[in-house]
Symmetry: C2
Subunit: 643 residues, 2 copies
């Protein structure tokens, strides 16, 4: 953590200095503004992840509304993929979740015992997160607690952002003829107070509908969820219970001979766990709500499926019944397919508002947050004048494709899970088919299969060979390094914060100590001084040299073989109102541990390279260290000419 | 973390359920009670560390008073030893400090350049925390933030304890003829309000003076600080500054030829750092305050000493001038030496109230917290009726001896640091003497040299050979293990919380899988069922089986070779109001990582052993697994017969 650059402040460093006029007791923030830059509909994971990012920009006015009267308390999603944990690290609360949450380490598989088919028995076990797949664990924690952590980030941010509860988006219109707050939103008061039903109008530059499967925002822009339903009722319950079932603290996939399937998800705190229990088949046009299923039905079904084991439920914390649907909208913004050249988006949908699927692959919360982590920096770039509004087309382009992959994978997984156990073994392998598929899906369920296609913000993989373990279009894969100035062992990826900035990680070639050209010195000299340099061109007079592009370098020798004082000036910049030196830009290989980032990530040891990483942690470009012209050209496609 | 055992609660799991009648808004707590169990004088590290422990016991009433009008904001101590970090882990905030603080990884040493003696040059570098010395880093963070973290623990504890600010202990008397609140304390109102100087009387069962070097509590019990002063003025300042000195982010010891010495301590946040600067020699009876030294003097001296480098100070956050003194009281409680057999202590001193020394070894805050971490569980044992009040004699016995070692080591260190550079090389070795001594001191400065002598609560080392890396009387040294039920890799020592409970870590012998006797099964069966078992005898009818003694077992095979369901019942206890099973008592060697706790800690692989650990994390006893009679005898000396 870096802080105190502009002077000492007492207290919790996670509480950022308030923006001008917001000195910490900003109840006024929750009054309804007449005009805002961004209006977010819905305080779910998608809405809060976006709000937490935008809250960091004092120059952007953000409002987030939620029909409920206050924060969520329990229930709904609970899976946090390793990819989401990496993102939480950038928000500053991954360590908190690591401490509180259940860690999914091993998953076990149960099937009917051939000797006694009415009984289940354990047939397999699989490691959940592959070695070096991520520095983060796969964790399980109730969604309400994730909300709370985002709300803390918002409240501690310079804008002291808090939600407006008890307000729902009822409708909106976009006036394409103006650029001044062209979206007019009708908000409706909901709930306990006298104002229920009363409406109020807010004008926004952008609206993001994170308002769930029945999204009014989606409806207002004519979006429709397409897809099918499996006509299968499932029950889910979070319970405190005792059982003679041995794997209660491991994730379990259970297939019974005739009673259906169960998924067990251990939860935070050591006692609580979740069960997904297969219930009745539904008729083609029947809704699950017609069956009047209760938690007692779920408990009874669970006991039938888990025979010979039983579950003695002591407290049902939360339960729900649902049917599996796989649905997707064609586009995640308000610009029709034919008009992308002439219009830029003003309204977006994210999360369940544009894709729904089975909860059992643990993707819902993660993909929703992934949506708005993708959108957040783009909105910030446009609203702060860094980029042209056409950048916003990339949101739907990137995320709709990912959502389609999600729905397809989830569809296939739901079929396999619900297939009778006999059928599922048709491929003749030793390992049960559901275990095999589970293992094949791990990169996907970890959130690591996301792969954005070449575009303005993802380069062609011409130089992929310079870093074979950092795939262009996929997330930057962290690895251990040693920080030179203080010899601290750390994860390189953890320098990235959720602050809308780009990172260039410059990896030095073999003999490069940062003192001679070509190599790091030449690159840094160019970036700092050349009029064509994207760093120089994108930096505003009133901000630090790393205000938009943060350049860090990694060297191959041990820390004792490098000299911080002789590093290029760009790697030791003077920052803040005092012009204090930043000591945290230079790293080297952590030789003592043996975890060599060059080996681990396939980085060209002879020549080095630079890796350009987007604000959402995705690898945008890989280039030779001397490819400064290509680097500038890439950023010219993204940033406006005049910062 | 384990929680939800008695049912789900929404929100931050670090906020514990409030005790009866204290539902979270207990401003009434800060009213002045007429009678309390424990009155703590002073909200420094010693006082807050004690208050944070006692706040966890709803049956103990605690009051902590502080003359200042609110929490400290900056200045004073900043070093957090690895031992203190281990203790913070038990309080639940080590991860927060790891994230925020500066980590001391490497220390550099500077001396006059023989070629140009008015200039300093770097002569050495040393690793600060030895490999596997602790799983925790040595960190630096301002004392005020440590206070804040303790205050959060207190406020989130069941008793919702908060300090009474603006109150100072003026005097106290002990009535040895009664056992009902025998200490009468006169408190004086301090500060801004009309009540200044007004007094109020509180009666307490115990009083702990954590009220600093001019302690009124110490004075009231006739304690006197003995020792000497070095007649040397030092300046200390926390600054934001630029410098061409290359090691600004490493701890540095600097000796100049003629201008004196400097110690540089980098601080949290990446920019701030502290300098200890040697100033003038004082006359034998002169006080440093007579010199009218200011921060400008400190800055000027620093620039002279650091020649050829300069420091350009931008902000002086805090500064002070002081003279080194090494002082110690003979006893840390109110019972005269001759009367220990007939009286038990009622009043204690801790921290600066009973020992003062140079701040430069970074010991002040750590040793002070060590004092009250030692005292806290003993007070809790006595006040909850677990132990006889004579247990309290062990506080002064253990801590006064440690403080004497501290003062002696610090004395020697101060002499070496202040010795002219020529003289310090008299031993003729290659390595400068101050570097050599620094390295020799590392176990001490890490807080790991503390070694309590045999007593009622520290056994004779008859069976030390069963675990050669866990020294009886020293702190339990954690190592990685795998938790069986969920295959989570973790530190064994991290199961210990600052909750006043004892731990027995039972290490299984070679073939032991927990299912056959002798071995773990036999031990657990005895502990759970035998009328002589300390677990059974100390457990009250209304509490869980691990309410006072928490038994955990470690096995040698891989997790796939062990069966949780077939473990002894004591290792799978039913707990809480629902009788939920606790899954977190059984561990095994983490084979995959190669970190084998048996090898790392010298545990007898053939026979195993049990290691008894005190509530303050010190090893109390090591025994063969079958030495149940010895185990019971040991605990009979500590616990009352009737729980």
């Amino acid at each position: 953590m870096q802080y105190y650059i502009d002077g000492f402040r007492s207290g919790d460093p996670d509480v950022k200095p308030a923006a001008l006029g917001l000195d910490g007791t900003s109840t006024g923030r929750r009054a309804i503004a007449q005009k805002v830059d961004v209006l977010i509909a819905g305080c779910g994971p998608a809405g809060l992840c976006l709000a937490a990012q935008l809250a960091g920009f004092p120059e952007i006015s953000t409002m987030i509304v939620e029909p409920k009267q206050g924060p969520m308390e329990k229930g709904q999603a609970d899976g946090v993929s390793v990819r989401s944990m990496e993102m939480f690290q950038a928000f500053g609360f991954a360590e908190k979740i690591k401490r509180e949450a259940y860690w999914v380490n091993q998953t076990t598989f149960w099937k009917p015992d051939p000797a006694k088919p009415q009984d289940i028995h354990r047939v397999g076990i699989a490691q959940d997160v592959a070695d070096d797949q991520s520095e983060m664990p796969h964790t399980i924690l109730n969604q309400a607690r994730v909300h709370q952590l985002f709300l803390e980030v918002m409240k501690n941010a310079p804008t002291r952002l808090e939600p407006n509860y008890g307000l729902r988006v009822r409708d909106l219109t976009v006036d394409t003829s103006t650029k001044d707050h062209p979206v007019t939103v009708t908000l409706e008061r909901v709930g306990v107070d006298d104002g229920t039903g009363e409406t109020v109008t807010v004008r926004a530059n952008y609206v993001v509908g994170c308002d769930g499967a029945r999204s009014a925002v989606r409806e207002a822009i004519g979006g429709k969820l397409h897809g099918d339903a499996a006509h299968q009722a499932w029950g889910v319950m979070d319970i405190l219970a005792n059982s003679d079932f041995p794997d209660l603290r491991r994730k379990c996939l259970i297939q019974s001979a005739k009673e259906g399937n169960i998924l067990i998800i251990p939860r935070e705190g050591g006692y609580l766990f979740r069960m997904y229990v297969e219930l009745d088949k539904l008729n083609p046009d029947e809704r699950v709500s017609n069956r009047n299923l209760t938690s007692d039905h779920i408990i009874a079904a669970a006991n039938r499926i888990m025979c010979p084991y039983t579950i003695d439920v002591k407290e049902v914390v939360w339960w729900s019944v649902y049917e599996i649907g796989h649905r997707l909208t064609d586009k995640f913004d308000d610009v029709p397919f034919g008009e992308t050249a002439t219009r830029t988006p003003r309204v977006f949908t994210a999360g369940d508002a544009c894709h729904t699927h089975s909860p059992k692959a643990g993707q819902g919360m993660n993909v929703s947050m992934g949506d708005t982590f993708n959108l957040g920096w783009k909105l910030a770039h446009v609203l702060t004048g860094r980029s042209d509004p056409s950048l916003l087309h990339s949101y739907s382009a990137e995320r709709q494709l990912e959502a389609r992959r999600l729905v397809e994978t989830d569809h296939q997984w739901a079929r396999i899970m619900s297939a009778p156990p006999g059928e599922s073994e048709l491929d003749g392998s030793e390992m049960p088919r559901f275990q095999k598929q589970f293992i094949e899906n791990l990169e996907f369920t970890g959130g690591l299969a996301v792969h954005y296609e070449p575009s303005l913000i993802v380069a062609m993989p011409d130089h992929q060979g310079l870093a074979t373990g950092q795939i262009i279009g996929k997330r930057f894969h962290s690895a251990p390094v040693l920080r030179l100035a203080d010899a601290k062992r750390m994860q390189l990826g953890h320098v990235a914060e959720a602050d809308g900035r780009w990172r260039i990680y410059a990896f030095a070639g073999k003999e490069d100590l940062g003192q001679t050209t070509p190599g790091i010195l030449e690159l840094c000299t160019y970036l700092e001084n050349d009029p064509a340099s994207p760093v120089r061109r994108s930096t505003r007079p009133d901000e630090d040299i790393d205000g938009l592009i943060d350049v860090r370098a990694v060297f191959q020798p041990d820390f004792t073989g490098l000299d911080f004082e002789r590093m290029p000036a760009l790697l030791r910049p003077a920052k803040g109102r005092y012009g204090l030196r930043d000591f945290e830009k230079v790293f080297c290989v952590d030789h003592k541990s043996g975890d060599d980032i060059y080996d681990m990530r396939g980085i060209d040891r002879e020549n080095g390279c630079m890796i350009v990483v987007r604000p959402d942690q995705y690898v945008a470009h890989i280039l030779p260290l001397n490819a400064t012209t290509d680097l500038s050209a890439f950023f010219e496609g993204i940033f406006c000419r005049d910062p």
